[in-house]
């Protein structure tokens, strides 16, 4: 009885927070869900897509009982086993990722509410009515003001604390339950990201309700180094937008170059098309070491921890602008501006300045004072040859390279005057600098690589924010029927096996009329290659969210617009209510929205939570080889796993046999393997025969192109009836099916997992 009272009290509290009395939609079964509320959905997913663990460490060393050896079935002093320890680690990674985005959102909100007040209206333009699909679905709230976003974020912060608590020694004892918690906080990550980006769009006036956003200069060759140069680095645009404001107010925008690294670059170019993008995180150390930046301003997340030291080496001034990374610097926030400028110019001191307006003013004044005195020259080929002569190609550098290649081989060729090898290696370099610190001969590898980096410039389309409701209405039917073969979302960081892979993937799928969506460092990498006519993918393909479009949504936090688009298809096109109705939305996406995420260079904890959040929503993700170090994947065994669904129209459980999608989190080694898999992971049970034939056409042709002659070994699992076979391969597929004794089967009218596992959601809820 007491328990019932407690549940009722909690529910009332939630209804109050989400303003349940405003009847824009009925409140679904799980508004503001807590950890156990969607656990049954997770367990159903994990039944088919079981966690696959690849321990990166055999031990647990979290508490003072340890270190504990967890090999050969041993348990730690607290009782934990190796699988549960991996799951716990994954949860912690997802918590870090979720916290980073949510705290970013929190800081931006605080900044903007301070400026505009909590009642500032959320207006994303005439083409966007469903402004916050993640918040509406998960929280159950329709945010109308900046103040409403605080309600969503407070809920996220509370859940983060609960989930983090569960990682303490001696608590959760089930790997599956840790996974459920990881899925939970990663779902919340998409809420936090959505809060952050909506606040930014509203507060900074970023583009919205428009597809054709400006084309931006990319590459350090685009930077006019004869001017004072200010580099902004990280993710949080509070500082960089104020910096642009300061330059505009003082009529200096054409006199000072503003350039950015990583997501702050994407954010800044959404605010000013005059700003330049240096490149993804993998270019950070290279660029800093050129000394082109007169002032470096760091904010948060993906910024190098050695920025103060690197800045000092080349005489760049440096300001830490956010409390997340203060680098041990003196906090000068309350000091007199002129005094800070004097000390930075005269004494080369570095400071933390947490007031964006003051940081901006100091950065501009310092840059203008020191720029004329600084030399910013490129290394010449002759100088590079001379420096490279110290290399003995001892291969010590190879031993520490995260991408496992021998830069010494390239450097020793430079010594002979051959720059071809190092130019190729530059595309594989993840920019960590470990090779240089390992070199016994102190060869300045990064400096020599300036020769490979060159001064070429490329183009990137400015991030456009949410997908418009009008676009969703246009593509909803072709996506769910399969006639647009899929949505390929290429996201995440720059820890690529080869940077060129990204442009290859974009080209391959845009040409095939998939919708290609990009964000973060991947959005920059996609633009860093030109075709024979000198065009990048952003100049060649339409910016519309439609077949053959190449869409840059923006920075990391804009990933919420990709998950949001999937939810909007269920809500706007299929007219399913989303309010507090996560299970129904995720079930729809899993079974009917042919989308596949690709995090080819994922390195960070944020990438872990972004990807895991997509997984809970039913979107599979393909990861590059480095991502095996995340320790966990979600893989099915297609021949043996449970592919049964409920046919909601007939109310009967059907064994579809087809692994669609086959995996939820999958790692592969080469782009050649990844591309057929990406096409396969867009197959959904809901495909019409016409749609399935189109999807199989791409799967088979990509297989033949990259894997070899013949047919994919599992093609029979995806052919339901003869009409599913693509015309081009009809004869070959029919002969193969006959040979293996394939039997036709009926497609499922309305496939859903609801009804195949214990849930409060009725089957009726998925019928639209």
């Amino acid at each position: 009885m007491a328990q019932v009272k407690e549940i009722t009290r909690k529910l009332e509290e939630i209804r109050k927070k989400i303003k349940a009395e405003i009847p824009w939609e009925p409140v679904g079964p799980t508004p503001m869900p807590e950890m156990p509320d969607l656990r049954q959905w997770d367990m159903r997913l994990l039944k088919t897509y079981a966690p696959f663990y690849a321990p990166f460490c055999d031990l647990c060393c979290f508490c003072t009982y340890g270190k504990c050896d967890l090999t050969e079935g041993r348990r730690g002093a607290c009782g934990i086993d190796i699988a549960t320890q991996q799951a716990r680690f994954v949860l912690m990674a997802c918590l870090m990722g979720c916290s980073a985005h949510a705290a970013h959102g929190g800081h931006i909100l605080e900044f903007l509410i301070d400026k505009y007040g909590p009642d500032k209206k959320i207006d994303l333009g005439t083409s966007i009515d469903v402004e916050a699909p993640n918040i509406r679905t998960v929280v159950g709230l329709k945010p109308e003001t900046l103040g409403d976003l605080v309600i969503a974020l407070d809920y996220v912060f509370k859940e983060i604390a609960h989930a983090l608590d569960s990682t303490h020694t001696g608590q959760e004892g089930s790997a599956l339950d840790y996974e459920s918690k990881a899925l939970h906080v990663s779902m919340l990550d998409h809420v936090g990201m959505e809060v952050a980006d909506i606040a930014q769009i509203v507060g900074f006036g970023y583009p919205t309700s428009v597809a054709d956003t400006p084309i931006i200069e990319l590459g350090w060759g685009a930077i006019d180094k004869s001017k004072p140069v200010i580099l902004v680095s990280g993710h949080n645009p509070a500082t960089s937008t104020v910096l642009i404001d300061y330059l505009r107010e003082h009529n200096l925008e054409d006199q000072v170059e503003v350039c950015g690294l990583c997501c702050t670059a994407l954010e800044t170019t959404r605010y000013s098309s005059k700003a330049k993008i240096v490149g993804p995180l993998s270019r950070a150390l290279f660029f800093m070491r050129t000394g082109i930046a007169d002032v470096i301003m760091t904010d948060e997340q993906c910024i190098r921890t050695d920025t103060p030291q690197e800045a000092a080496k080349v005489g760049s001034a440096m300001i830490a602008c956010l409390d997340k990374a203060m680098y041990g610097l003196e906090n000068a926030t309350d000091w007199d501006t002129d005094e800070i400028v004097r000390r930075m110019v005269d004494n080369r001191e570095q400071f933390a300045i947490l007031d964006p307006a003051k940081a901006a003013e100091v950065a501009v004044k310092v840059a203008m004072k020191i720029a004329p005195e600084r030399k910013k020259g490129w290394l010449t080929e002759a100088e590079a040859v001379e420096l490279a002569k110290k290399c003995t190609n001892c291969k010590m550098c190879e031993q520490v390279c995260p991408n496992l290649f021998n830069i010494g081989g390239g450097i020793s060729e430079v010594a002979k005057g051959n720059f071809d090898v190092i130019r190729r290696q530059f595309l594989q370099c993840v920019g960590c600098g470990k090779c240089e610190q390992e070199c016994p001969n102190n060869v300045p590898i990064f400096k020599i690589m300036q020769i490979a980096a060159g001064t070429e410039t490329w183009k990137c389309r400015s991030g456009r924010g949410p997908i418009m409701d009008t676009e969703i209405r246009n593509v909803g039917a072709p996506i769910t029927l399969g006639t647009i073969p899929g949505v390929i979302a290429i996201v995440g960081c720059s820890n690529y096996p080869d940077m060129d892979d990204i442009a290859d993937m974009v080209e391959e799928f845009a040409k095939r009329r998939y919708i290609v969506v990009l964000s973060g460092c991947a959005a920059m990498a996609a633009g860093m290659r030109k075709d024979k006519d000198g065009l990048t993918v952003y100049e060649k393909y339409s910016p519309n969210f439609d077949a053959g479009g190449v869409v840059n949504v923006g920075s990391c936090v804009a990933n919420a617009h990709i998950s949001g688009a999937a939810i909007k298809i269920a809500n706007i096109f299929a007219a399913l209510p989303l309010r507090g109705n996560y299970e129904v939305m995720a079930d729809y996406v899993l079974n009917r929205v042919g989308a596949c995420g690709v995090a080819w260079g994922a390195y960070s904890q944020k990438a872990a939570s972004i990807g895991t959040g997509f997984n809970r929503l039913g979107v599979p993700v393909v990861l590059g080889p480095h991502a095996s170090k995340y320790r966990r994947l979600y893989l099915s065994r297609k021949e043996d796993d449970d592919w049964r669904v409920m046919d909601a129209r007939k109310r009967e459980i059907v064994d579809t046999v087809e692994p669609a999608p086959e995996h939820l989190a999958y790692v592969c080694e080469t782009k050649e393997k990844a591309m057929p898999m990406m096409a396969k992971l867009c197959i959904r049970r809901n495909d019409t025969p016409q749609g399935r034939a189109i999807k199989l056409n791409h799967y088979i042709s990509l297989y033949k192109k990259y894997i070899g002659p013949g047919l994919p070994e599992d093609i029979h699992l995806f052919v339901r009836r003869d009409a599913d076979i693509p015309l081009v391969y009809k004869k070959e597929v029919r002969a193969h099916l006959q040979e293996i004794g394939w039997q036709p089967r009926e497609p499922v009218g309305l496939p859903t997992l609801i009804g195949t596992y214990p849930t409060k959601v009725p089957v009726d809820a998925v019928i639209h």
Partner: protein, 183 residues
């Protein structure tokens, strides 16, 4: 390569249950011959060629032929195998075949029962080591071995770090010769 274990290992344990390092081709060949259902998993590093122009994949195919071992082609290696006249017994990616191998009830690529010895050859070392770690922890029913030129600590048996390619290729030639003995 066996590490010295400190008395109070709780304080300083490094956590690496390391592979047994084997340098003699004959010893490797004996281990392979003793296996009842071995499997050779090949990766994309075998698409490269020696300075003399021999595709590394040919070594894998020669080993498989000499010991009658089924081959699992990962990544995009199948195309090269077919070009060299051999159709692999199965096409999986590394994580997929490892996922199957860790199930003791899996029937293996020949449907005769799970494999008792799994050889990794030509898979990049980060992914290879992670896959071997999965098998080390979750597949006690099988042994693992690598044929690459560098040491893989998570395997049961590994080659050393060869300083020169020639020495490694010499080892592989020796292994093939030993496997052919008594055919």
């Amino acid at each position: 390569m066996s590490a010295v274990i400190p008395r109070h290992r709780v304080n300083v344990l490094t956590g690496l249950k390391s592979a047994k390092l084997i340098e003699e081709p004959a010893e490797y060949a004996d281990l392979i011959k003793k296996a009842k259902r071995p499997l050779l998993v090949v990766g994309p590093l075998l698409l490269a060629a020696t300075p003399e122009g021999k595709v590394l994949m040919q070594y894998a195919l020669d080993i498989a032929k000499a010991a009658n071992i089924p081959v699992c082609a990962t990544a995009h290696t199948r195309g090269k195998m077919v070009e060299l006249g051999v159709e692999p017994q199965c096409v999986y990616d590394v994580v997929e075949v490892v996922n199957a191998l860790k199930d003791p009830k899996w029937l293996g690529v020949k449907k005769e029962g799970n494999h008792d010895l799994v050889m990794f050859f030509g898979i990049r070392s980060d992914l290879g080591n992670q896959g071997l770690s999965t098998l080390k922890h979750f597949a006690p029913h099988l042994k693992t071995m690598t044929l690459c030129r560098n040491y893989f600590p998570h395997a049961n048996y590994s080659l050393p770090n060869f300083k020169k390619d020639a020495k490694w290729l010499e080892f592989l030639d020796g292994l093939i010769a030993n496997l052919k003995k008594g055919e």
